[in-house]
């Protein structure tokens, strides 16, 4: 039998076989609840992980593609140094464009700090040049050396200083999210194992009777495994559904909200949480199977 056929046969199951184990009431219901709660948490851990991944990429991209050149020079030489700098930049491989910011643009940038009424013309404001890089980027060290020779008042800022810690922080956040998903999976396995062991212990007489009439271990184990796997699958499906609905209802990302409101799934990201219920089923299948076979060997 192929794997999909076996899975379908397992899920549709053998109604007779299910009946040999008495309805386990509270144990099975708790299994469903635990799987549901864990799936709900897993959805958020996953959302956190994906959102921080996106954040790291966005910050990295936006900051990596641009640099700033700042020219501080006496009023008289400013225009000449700016022109020289632009010429140097235009001949540097890896730079797509370089553009000197106009006086108006510069005052807009400064307005948040000094207020709109400050007479900027009277102040020695450095000239800013916005640099856009090509895909390959440029050699920052080489450019600094050339600028030092030709435009002594220029300072190149390639944003590395800002980018690195932000990317690192976002990367850590993503790892924490993934670690949480793993811990949740392990905890789900542990809880289902405990529930299965409790059910096996409570059904010692059932197991003894089944052994007496010639049931093989595989048959007995399967009756328990099927029940717990389906409970976990069902519970996790409900938990995942609720978790996804909760994520969907979060306020959408906005300029002012920043990072927190960006928590959620985008595009194909919605596929990931759908993997949680089958994963919970697989965890339950193996956890219960191991517990049952071990238990059956012990009871003799």
């Amino acid at each position: 039998m192929s794997v999909p056929t076996r899975i379908i046969a397992f899920v549709t199951g053998d109604a007779q076989r299910d009946r040999v184990v008495p309805p386990s009431g509270i144990t099975a219901r708790l299994t469903g609840f635990a799987a549901g709660a864990m799936a709900f948490l897993a959805v958020f851990a996953l959302a956190l992980s994906l959102a921080s991944g996106r954040l790291a990429t966005r910050w990295g991209d936006e900051l990596a593609r641009s640099s700033t050149l700042r020219i501080s020079a006496p009023e008289a030489q400013m225009a000449e140094q700016t022109a020289t700098a632009l010429r140097v930049l235009e001949t540097t491989p890896g730079i797509a464009s370089a553009r000197a910011l106009s006086k108006e643009e510069q005052s807009l940038l400064l307005a948040p700090w000094f207020g709109p009424d400050l007479p900027l013309e009277t102040l020695p404001i450095p000239q800013l040049i916005e640099i856009r890089e090509t895909e390959d980027g440029y050699d920052a060290a080489g450019l600094r050396l050339r600028l030092q020779a030709e435009v002594p008042g220029a300072v190149l800022d390639d944003h590395t200083r800002w980018r690195k810690p932000l990317e690192r922080a976002a990367g850590r956040l993503r790892m924490l999210g993934l670690l949480s998903v793993l811990l949740i999976a392990a905890t789900t396995g542990a809880m289902i194992t405990l529930a299965a062991l409790a059910a096996l212990a409570a059904n010692a007489q059932v197991i003894a009777v089944l052994r007496l009439v010639g049931a093989q271990d595989g048959y007995i184990a399967q009756a328990f495994v099927r029940r717990f796997t389906l409970r976990a699958l069902g519970g996790a499906a409900v938990g995942t559904g609720l978790g996804m609905a909760a994520v969907m209802l979060l306020p959408s990302a906005s300029e002012t909200g920043g990072f927190l409101t960006g928590l959620g799934f985008q595009g194909t990201g919605w596929v990931w949480p759908l993997l949680i219920p089958p994963l919970a089923g697989v965890v339950a299948y193996f956890a219960t199977g191991t517990a049952a076979r071990q238990r059956l060997r012990e009871v003799g």
Binding site: Q16, R19, A215, Y219
Partner: protein
């Protein structure tokens, strides 16, 4: 009449005996309960096993169907050494050896008919033919109208008969019964005996552990039964004085 269409020992290659015990001993933690016992069960034989309480009748039966492994000597069931059998081999043996326990245990959440059919269910043989057999079998043991009752609702005698039906539904080669008439009145024990005698006439090998000498006397008039007696840790063939 419900028919047994099962196999006997003859289909096992080279094995004349269904169950062979060779110089076996069994001891619990403290001391030896049984020692130096040899016995060969041939197809179609009818044995009674008797002896005082605590002499080891139940232990002896458990050794016969492999629930216990002897501490010394060798037990062969259907030509297989018990020590070399896996857990699944044991399960397969239990499909060919019907066991009626002293305290019959059932799945209390399933009706009697399902409990009787349980061996078919666990061996994947619960097909239509066997299910129609089940109905006849339930009538044969006089439980036709109790098929939908739950085991806890049954009387002692009904439980014994249900256990017997469950033990024979797979048409086993051997039926081992441990005090099958322990909890029932004389009339009922006669009825159970009749069932076992009929099974024996169909070619089944029967062994009944009992301390009820009247039952043995009643059986001897109908069937050629040998009486084994456990005394002083040994198994003896009891005399004709019974």
């Amino acid at each position: 009449m419900w028919r047994c269409s099962g196999t006997t020992g003859s289909n096992v290659t080279g094995a004349v005996f269904l169950i062979e015990l060779e110089n076996i001993a069994y001891s619990y933690g403290g001391g030896e309960l049984l020692s130096d016992i040899s016995l060969k069960l041939s197809p179609g034989s009818f044995h009674f096993l008797t002896g005082p309480s605590g002499s080891g009748k139940t232990t002896f039966l458990k050794l016969c169907y492999g629930a216990l492994t002897p501490t010394a000597g060798q037990v062969r069931i259907f030509d297989q050494d018990v020590r070399e059998m896996s857990r699944d081999d044991h399960a397969l043996v239990r499909r060919r050896v019907g066991v009626v326990h002293q305290d019959c245990q059932f799945l209390d959440h399933l009706p009697v008919a399902d409990n009787v059919a349980l061996p078919l269910m666990v061996s994947g043989r619960d097909d239509l033919e066997n299910v129609s057999n089940l109905k006849e079998l339930m009538h044969w043991v006089g439980l036709g109208d109790r098929a939908n009752a739950l085991p806890p609702e049954l009387s002692g005698g009904e439980r014994q008969r249900a256990a017997l039906a469950r033990a024979v539904i797979m048409s086993p080669d051997v039926v081992l019964a441990d005090e099958p008439t322990g909890n029932v009145d004389w009339e009922m024990s006669q009825r159970l005996l009749q069932l076992l005698v009929q099974l024996n006439r169909m070619g089944k090998t029967i062994m009944i552990a009992t301390h009820d000498l009247n039952l043995i006397r009643a059986a001897k008039s109908q069937v050629q039964a040998r009486v084994l007696r456990i005394a002083g840790r040994k198994l003896q063939l009891a005399g004709a004085d019974l």
